[in-house]
């Protein structure tokens, strides 16, 4: 899992530094500059998905499609296997003289099971990879962060970053001209 663990042992007295921005453009630019400056343990928060923001903080590995593919395959194969086992092996019935393994009749349930398992793995796979549900997270301790689900944009440098040092990182973030900078208590 690429999520930074939320255990206090990795962090000092604070969890990181948070900078607030007014617009999506400023956030993407700031995130990009922070990443280029060599910070790795950073995250950006926005009230809606922003194109290019994940790339700006250096996040590329997205395993959701793989999870959905595996889920869909498991659903489809198990659906077909169940029907074959029932109709041809354990409970064979002569229906209008059709062969026991009458595969065209099995397509629909196979299809539905593919969609069912694929869809469920899309939701639960996405949540698991995101480390959700997680009711508590240190970023919620900053009062201004409430606006992250409304109209404000945030960048956080975590104190677990090797390059992090309280004073230096603060002055670096200051250089990005944010609206405000706040310490995230751990």
């Amino acid at each position: 899992m690429s999520e930074s663990p939320v255990t206090s042992s990795n962090y000092g007295s604070n969890y990181g530094l948070m900078a607030e921005f007014d617009s999506a453009q400023e956030l993407v630019a700031a995130a990009h500059r922070t990443h280029v400056a060599g910070y790795q343990k950073i995250d950006a928060y926005s009230p809606f998905p922003i194109e290019g923001l994940a790339e700006a903080i250096g996040f590329h590995k997205n395993r959701v499609p793989l999870v959905v593919l595996i889920g869909g395959l498991i659903g489809g194969l198990s659906g077909y296997a169940l029907q074959y086992w029932v109709a041809a092996i354990t409970y064979p019935m002569n229906i209008g003289g059709r062969p026991y393994h009458s595969w065209p009749s099995f397509i629909i349930v196979t299809f539905e099971m593919t969609i069912l398992f694929g869809g469920l793995s899309a939701l639960f796979g996405m949540l698991a990879l995101n480390g959700l549900p997680m009711p508590y997270h240190p970023v919620f301790n900053v009062p201004e962060f409430r606006k992250a689900s409304e109209n404000k944009f945030f960048l956080v440098v975590f104190s677990s970053d090797p390059k992090y040092d309280a004073a230096g990182t603060r002055s670096f973030l200051q250089g990005l001209s944010p609206r405000m900078i706040a310490e995230v208590p751990s």
């Binding site: 617009s23 995250d43 997205n62 029907q83 229906i95 939701l123 992250a148 409304e150």
Partner: protein
């Protein structure tokens, strides 16, 4: 002159969102309906009416479970009756929600952003109503789980060659995936409600439901992938559900059922009635809750066009049925057409043609597409027409088939009507609660409609 030429064609149409909105006004406007708006007398009155109808449904079902399906009008030769008519009607209505949320998402139709949330809610409630009918029709609904394959002491298994078993899988998958899609879309909005509510218990409620969503860029990235994949999976699903429902009929040999046109014609009819229901709900809601900025004239007009298009496909289906009745040379098939036109249910067949084919043709005129009152009326007529279509398909086909000696008539009883009207009450009770408990328009997707949400576009505007 030159500036005029640069305006793209799309901009000359009515906007998807009225100008002047910002992230804050969008958030306020939608979330305040849930968090701030006081409960009006009208809402309470409407709720009481709908809740009474739901209770009528409970009485009808309770009596059914005591006495059995004999209280309904069904008998041989018409064994399917209202239960199947209503099942197909409700499940068809559900289709518009998935079409709007999945297919229009893949086609990048941004106007869907302001109607997809409540259309999806409508889908869930409609499928819930639909699901009750086959269960009640079984006679012993407490044994409904026998439909599913599970190891049991009776050593029996379902027959996977039966369309009725396919239907169990299709409808239950459809409900589950619609719920998953709806909930996935709700997560970021539940976080917005959590952050904006003031009462600690309300905060906790939305906080638990939001699963700790915090809008991280990594999360959004995976979220968007998951949402797109769900849309991709739901697209064939929505087309398959009514196809499988039509197999319930088409695989049988009854005249009027045994035809290959059923799958596409059922799917088009489903979308037709579904959009009619969306319009029937959206037109009053946008007025009552002041959402005309978000559900604009453009939305009404586009939905009216979809109705017109799918209605024409349905008309083609009727035409083809009549043509095949003649062209097949089958006596039973041509008799079925004669019986529809001149038999005891001829009035209802004429009403069906008027409601589904005749009256909706006024939608060719722009005046009818953009006038909310007239459009509401036409949508209502289409809903009635689509219900009549299922009535004609189920009852007229069954009541006079091959054996003249076993012909009969079907008359619904008061219990049939109470069950049907009761499900309408249950559906509207659920909608009534939904508009006050959850954001009925997707807040985060509405934010993405603003130009400042797009990094590149906004940069160009600044230049």
């Amino acid at each position: 002159m030159a500036t005029n030429l640069q305006i793209p064609v799309a901009d000359r149409r009515a906007p998807v969102i009225e100008p002047g909105h910002t992230f804050t006004t969008i958030t306020d406007k939608i979330s305040n309906i849930v968090l701030k708006r006081p409960i009006s007398i009208g809402w309470i009155f409407g709720f009481l009416v709908m809740f009474s109808l739901t209770n009528m449904l409970m009485v009808a079902l309770g009596y059914l479970f005591i006495k059995g399906t004999g209280i309904w009008g069904i008998n041989i030769p018409v064994g399917w009756g209202f239960a199947i008519v209503n099942f197909v009607w409700w499940i068809g209505i559900g289709h518009a929600g998935t079409l709007i949320s999945a297919i229009l998402c893949l086609l990048r139709q941004t106007w869907r952003n302001s109607i997809n949330r409540f259309a999806e809610a409508m889908t869930l409630f409609a499928v819930a109503c639909a699901g009750m009918f086959p269960l009640a029709h079984m006679g012993r609904p407490w044994l409904g789980y026998w439909l599913f394959p599970y190891p049991n002491t009776m050593n029996y298994w379902p027959n996977f060659r039966s369309p009725l078993v396919w239907d169990v899988f299709a409808v239950s998958t459809y409900f589950t995936i619609s719920l998953v899609f709806w909930f996935t879309g709700l997560i970021p909005d539940l976080a917005t409600l959590r952050d904006r509510s003031e009462h600690p218990w309300v905060q906790r409620l939305y906080g638990v439901l939001a699963l700790g969503w915090r809008g991280s860029a990594r999360h959004w990235h995976r979220y968007e992938t998951a949402y797109l994949l769900l849309a991709g999976l739901s697209t064939p699903l929505v087309l398959s559900v009514h196809t499988v429902v039509s197999f319930d009929f088409a695989v049988g040999i009854v005249p009027g059922w045994h035809t290959t046109i059923f799958p596409p014609y059922f799917v088009a009819g489903a979308i037709y009635s579904g959009f009619a229901m969306v319009l029937c709900l959206a037109i009053p809601i946008r007025t009552i809750y002041g959402l005309k900025d978000f559900i604009t004239e453009r939305h009404l007009e586009t939905m009216a066009k979809v109705m017109l298009g799918t209605g024409l496909i349905v008309a083609y289906g009727y035409g083809m049925e009549a043509f095949m009745g003649w062209y097949s040379g089958e006596h039973t098939d041509s008799f079925l057409m004669w019986n529809r036109l001149h038999g005891p249910y001829a009035f209802w067949y004429a009403a069906l043609l008027a409601c589904n084919i005749g009256i909706p043709q006024v939608l060719w005129l722009k005046k009818f597409r953009v006038s909310p009152g007239l459009l509401w009326l036409i949508s209502f007529i289409v809903l009635v027409g689509m219900w009549l279509e299922r009535f004609i398909i189920v009852i007229v086909s069954l009541h006079r088939d091959f054996l003249t000696s076993s012909w009969g008539m079907y008359y619904p009883t008061k219990w049939d009507w109470m069950t049907y009207i009761g499900t309408i009450g249950m559906f509207l009770t659920a909608m009534w609660l939904f508009v006050r408990i959850l954001p009925m328009i997707s807040i985060f997707e509405m934010r993405t409609l603003l130009p400042e949400a797009h990094v590149h576009e906004a940069a160009e505007v600044e230049k």
